[in-house]
Symmetry: C2
């Protein structure tokens, strides 16, 4: 019987979340029941939405329950199966949580498609973050050629895909990211037209210089002061997809619209969305993203922490923007 | 040669607009040139958007020019014509402005349809305010049966039509209006399910009591604190049409969204709009509204000031909510 290790939510954050909110556990791996399979996780995905789940029902989904394993997307392989549809060795993506092993039924697992990409891509550009980007770009923002699209957290798991999809549609793409290294990567490797460092004291002037024709489409992942600055530069008939407001998750920076008259006089559209509401998009989105990746027109970067024990620290680093690209925990 | 009278914009407001911003004039009526007609106005429409035009290019349209006749919708009759398509006596709707007579070319005039309604209806429920309501309800909010729709300025030219169109779609309609008389009218005569007085000290509790299932659709005409209270009660997948923010036009009350996380976690859609962007909707909207009016299923009320000299005072009264229904100035 293999040993399972992981983290449960021990307490809800008061103010900023910290490692004390999690409790490490070590126990024999669970046994799959009838119709279930046991999965050995290879990678765990760390995502901003998890911070919302730690609070009591303030977010769109049910709260993470106390004393239960922290939720999280995982890729891994089947190591025991009581379901004829799954064989030992099958590679699967699921919601295994912050642990080495999980038991799941077929409805909660998806076999990995045969794309020529590393398995962990199905937690990133070909997974939930990629589909999030796809939905926001193709269903909400619909940028046209020559329009200026701005995306925050530009080198993150979602932002990098947003920019590349918008470039493929012919838009001018301007990223917002933290620091010169990320901004350089967005332009040199992701192909953005420009990227503005939100840590710069001249941020607003830099953003204006990078968006001389104003902003037509805004994909917002962060919120706070950079959001407000972007919002003020929106052109008539501008659209805003609110995908995440990570700057506000800890209550540190409010994300506000200070003058709704802009929404009226510029006829803006603002749409909040959650990719899990749009399961009908997933197959098409993943097929398109996989085709782009295999042909080299979709690239990404990963920050990989090693070992389940590193998950909390990696999670808090991501909330503070210390990751560079998709944040993963390697479990093998 | 008849005598024309009216008002030009004399100066731009600093802070709250006042009668000193207008200048009365009296002069011979203009002569129609080749292809033009002379129209004698019967009614002038007074609308909140005019306040925005008085400022320097802060609004969606070009500013009202100084020393030119204040813009405004008018209905009237042709009294001289140099265009074979118009005969003396034809009843027309146009943008004649705050004056008794205007000269226009055919492209800027529309003959009144043969609906059995008073001519001034084409400045209200069957005119720009009615089409505004129609577009917001049918193109943006799309309320479904059993959903709760809230509309502010509920007895105004736009709000009254919004509520009646939403009732026709089966929605539960709750108005917000100023004072017991307007609220009573919204329920008794317009058929709303409830109407809440925004002047009541218990407004928030009253709104909650009137919307026990929350708010699914919000048609916003006013802004300010009642808007914020309505916004907080929006349900998941709620939609908001921002049609006007009259409370903010004089800078007296800010209209803000204080926590954008609501937009994200409840997956809200907020859309600002201006009916003049959607000319393609006008024929269908007016035809549908006329059919409802002729069958008695669309009703409205008017506040009518007498004589062009009363226009400024009636205009400022409307901005303060002293009108009850569509604000008109009768010019005959």
């Amino acid at each position: 019987m293999p040993i399972n290790k992981g983290f449960v939510l021990a307490s809800r954050p008061r103010g900023e979340a910290n490692v004390g909110n999690f409790r490490f556990f070590e126990a024999p791996a669970p046994q799959p029941g009838a119709g279930e399979v046991l999965v050995r996780h290879h990678y765990l995905s760390l995502d901003p939405y998890m911070r919302g789940r730690m609070d009591e029902s303030r977010s769109y989904a049910a709260s993470q329950k106390l004393d239960e394993v922290m939720i999280g997307g995982t890729v891994g392989e089947v190591v025991a199966s009581n379901d004829s549809a799954f064989a030992v060795g099958d590679r699967v993506v699921g919601q295994g949580g912050w642990q080495l092993y999980s038991v799941a039924c077929a409805a909660d697992l998806r076999k990995l498609p045969a794309a020529k990409v590393p398995v962990q891509a199905f937690l990133g550009a070909l997974g939930m973050p990629g589909v999030t980007a796809w939905h926001g770009v193709n269903r909400i923002l619909e940028p046209r050629a020559e329009q200026t699209l701005v995306v925050s957290a530009a080198t993150g798991a979602v932002g990098a895909v947003v920019g590349q999809l918008a470039k493929a549609r012919g838009a001018r793409v301007v990223g917002i990211a933290g620091g010169a290294e990320k901004c350089g990567y967005a332009v040199a490797s992701l192909g953005f037209d420009a990227c503005v460092d939100h840590r710069s004291p001249a941020f607003e002037a830099d953003l204006a210089a990078a968006t001389p024709q104003g902003i037509d489409r805004l994909f917002e992942n962060v919120g706070g002061a950079p959001f407000r600055a972007s919002f003020r530069r929106l052109n008539d008939f501008g659209r805003v997809a609110i995908c995440g407001l990570i700057a506000s998750y800890e209550g540190a920076a409010a994300t506000t619209i200070d003058d709704m008259r802009l929404v009226l006089v510029r006829r803006l559209m603002v749409q909040g969305f959650i990719v899990m509401d749009h399961m009908e998009d997933w197959p098409r989105a993943i097929a398109e993203l996989a085709a782009l990746a295999e042909s080299g027109r979709l690239t990404w970067r990963e920050s990989v922490a090693q070992g389940i024990e590193s998950a909390p620290e990696a999670f808090f680093g991501m909330l503070k923007g210390r990751n560079f690209g998709k944040q993963l925990v390697r479990l093998i």
